[in-house]
Symmetry: C2
Subunit: 218 residues, 2 copies
Amino acid sequence: MSDVILLDCWASPFCMRVKIALEEKGIKYENRAEDLFGGKSELLLTSNPIYGKVPVLLHNGKPLCESSIIVGYIDETWASPPLLPSCPYGRAQAKFWADFIDKKLFDAGGNIWKTKGEAQAVAVKDFIEILKQLEGGLGDKDYFGGDSFGFVDIIAIAIISWFNAFERFGNFKVEDHTPKFSAWIKRCLQRETVAKIIPDPEKVYEFVLLLKKMNGIE
Amino acid sequence: MSDVILLDCWASPFCMRVKIALEEKGIKYENRAEDLFGGKSELLLTSNPIYGKVPVLLHNGKPLCESSIIVGYIDETWASPPLLPSCPYGRAQAKFWADFIDKKLFDAGGNIWKTKGEAQAVAVKDFIEILKQLEGGLGDKDYFGGDSFGFVDIIAIAIISWFNAFERFGNFKVEDHTPKFSAWIKRCLQRETVAKIIPDPEKVYEFVLLLKKMNGIE
């Protein structure tokens, strides 16, 4: 048995976070795709009894749940290259933005493809407002932590994999509203560890189409 | 100017977390009470522009926001006594339960006092279910981290200050459903740093009564 196993779903941005972090650290791992529609594996249900959700990282047989916590664990377990800043204040700042992204970004995007008409217009407006706040956190830096790609970049860029779907269903363009954030997206997507993991935007769009149908959303 | 300043509200369990952590570490700080109903201070709004919420901890003039992140910062900045375990796996486990509490517990309690009738019965049932899950995380240990009071205990015990209000509005008793968790509550409340910070349950009940009136909830 591999000492690092990821219970994965290709379309989950939360799984992508863990995969990008593992790539950054150069850790070899066994990827086990979960069939979320066909029934979850016994290993997933016993490893994550509270939520029953991917990603779960098993390290030497011990399960870790919740993507931001897993990425933090990866950073503490395999030291190089560091993803979080070394000073407590920088670490707290990084965790603040990661927490902001966790609380807001993916759900706000979900509100776009789950609605239509006036409700969707509100959802698009809310989503752009969140991106502007996030752009404020990025400021004029190349990456959220400064000059190098790190923790917050991983937490955020994984969700960008769904932006094409959000934009098409909401009929808007992120780059029309947040130029600095959009430049940061392009910068991250050129990175080998990110490019390797982030799936084709069209495949994600088709996945969201499928989700809409399954949930009876026209 | 004091080098540690807390922007505080006496009734906020999130502020209590920060105060208990500071007491545990023996850190002297200046407490500035915010008048949340009368208008927030300029310092609060500029220190926490994203949420505009207490608690904010200012350390040497630099602001920190979000209570769980602040408690983590306090633990990293003032090493003794440690609040989080030293091994990465133990830290990840602690963060998992802190995150679970953050996502679930206070909002579930809010659903009790904000509703009545059938909706309230469902809210009480949901709340007890969350407590049972949390009790599972505690297991047979004295504290969430094992033998000593630590990070998860601080995150959870602060919210216990509102339990009297939840119980009275919902007409139930926590100890009837979760005996081990209730024993843990009693153990924590005997601790000097906790007893000093947690307010009189009756005062909190009256505060929640006031909140109900202000929000037009009968």
